[in-house]
């Protein structure tokens, strides 16, 4: 017996609609729950004061600084390397066994759990290179961690640039480099920015890779060679050691707001860029 199309349609709507609603509901619940528990603790003093008694009292200012600096260092290192690699893979080589191996390698790198990166960063940067727990060690480790994301998103964005744009550029007497710089990269920029945004998000929320490499100092850093604690690490320590659950939620609330802000600002910038190029 055949099921009437109207019924299958109704079932499909119920299934897919239900999945969407459920997903959104979980997301909204998490955000509302954390903000509800965290926001009552948040005040200007909470944001701008240093922690006292290991974070039981006082604010989270040094961890804000750490959360700002670590992803900044990571992206500053990973962005040129990652975009450079993707430009090389898409524009300067032909598809071969070699590019296949590089691509497979980056995909594997993307699948490695962050604690492995933390361990590697600890052994290589902190111990072997004697850099100690510091912003630079953490930033470098995070950079390695987010490189695959930046490479693959940039690569997809660059591949999506129509071949005809390149042909036009070449036919107008541009070199490959001029074509990449003036046509390919600007056109691929929105996609590249998406990769960077994802990377910043991952870096901000990272604990395992950071705690082994940047340490967990609560002092304000003076240089890139000082240890810092990020909000994510602070939250982890406060909750794990039972120092202050209230302040842990306060930190978590600020963390969520920070990630939302990063996303909102980069979307805004990107849309302005697109509008300027196609107005």
């Amino acid at each position: 017996m055949r099921v009437p199309p109207k019924v299958t349609q109704a079932i499909a709507v119920a299934l897919f609609g239900g999945a969407t609603v459920l997903t959104l509901a979980v997301l909204v619940f998490v955000i509302v729950f954390v903000l509800g528990k965290g926001l009552p603790v948040v005040s200007l003093d909470f944001l701008l004061q240093s922690p006292r008694e290991m974070g039981k009292a006082g604010g989270i200012f040094p961890t804000l600084v750490g959360t700002f600096l670590l992803p900044l260092v990571a992206v500053a290192i990973a962005f040129p390397l990652g975009v450079g690699t993707s430009v090389y893979l898409t524009e300067y080589t032909v598809e071969s066994r070699m590019t296949g191996v590089i691509r497979f390698g980056t995909d594997c790198l993307a699948g490695i759990p962050s604690i492995i990166f933390g361990l590697f960063g600890y052994i290589f940067f902190v111990e072997i290179l004697q850099m100690g727990w510091c912003i630079l060690s953490g930033g470098l480790t995070l950079a390695i961690m987010v490189l695959p994301t930046i490479i693959r998103t940039s690569e997809e964005a660059i591949k999506a640039v129509p071949t005809s744009y390149r042909e036009v550029s070449f036919s107008l007497g541009a070199t490959r480099w001029e074509t990449v710089l003036k046509v390919v990269l600007p056109t691929a920029l929105p996609g590249i920015v998406t990769g960077v945004m994802l990377s910043i998000g991952r870096s901000i929320g990272e604990t395992a890779a950071v705690i082994f490499t940047a340490g967990a100092s609560l002092r304000l850093p003076d240089s890139l060679f000082d240890s810092v604690r990020t909000m994510a690490v602070h939250f982890y320590i406060l909750a794990r050691e039972g120092i202050s659950i209230e302040n842990a939620y306060g930190t978590a609330a600020i963390l969520i707001i920070a990630v939302l802000l990063v996303n909102a600002v980069s979307y805004g910038l990107m849309n302005r860029f697109i509008a300027r190029r196609t107005k």
């Binding site: 005809s164 744009y165 042909e167 036009v168 070449f170 036919s171 107008l172 007497g173 190029r277």
Partner: protein, 253 residues
Amino acid sequence: MSDPVQISVRNLSVYYGKQHVLRGITLDIPSRHVLGIIGPAGSGKTAFLRTLNRLNDLNPDSRMEGKILMGETEITHSDCDVVSLRKRVGMVFALPVPLPLSIYDNLAYGPRLSGIRKRFQLDEIVERSLKAAVLWEEVKDRLQTSAFRLSGGQQQRLCLARVLAMEPEVVLLDEPCSGLDPISTARIEEALMTLKATHTIVLVTNNTKQAARVADTTAFFLMGELIEVGPTSRLFVAPTDSRTNEYISGRFG
């Protein structure tokens, strides 16, 4: 503007991978002359055009035999400076491809690559090229808007203007009117008639009537071979090869 040059093609063969797309083409294109190339799809017209500015180089599977002389330069030679060759030989593609920039920046793209930076020089080039492509009157008040905002016919004239802004000696056109309405086609042809006084033009077209209207000499390509080439007035009235006759009288293709 430098003098346009004569192009001599000698025994040119092109391969895409294992595919033999051009077979021993020998052909002369006098300067200040319009060569029309007609032939059915897959006859090698576009492949031929793309050897003249070495755009086939972008395809790593392509291979070329034989010789093309452009003036004194052997452009098929491996030492040939391809970038400066492409500045001498402009190309308009079958579909209009504006770059995602303003009308002005599209026009200034080529000149800027050649190192022209001064605003007044660029302004002058933009205006002159747009006028030569019969587009100036329609866009002069909105040069800073995106080239995507133009209609298809206008975009194709923009592409022609963009080529002219480089002051090339040779202009290659690959079925430039295939997607255009009759009025836009007439505008492009109008521009070509003026251009041939100063440029050497190679026009690939699917439209035999267009070749008859614009070209001084017409060549008929079939399956990668040059079947026949001769003055347009003669070729369309008294073709010497029966295949040419069948094609232009519309029996195939």
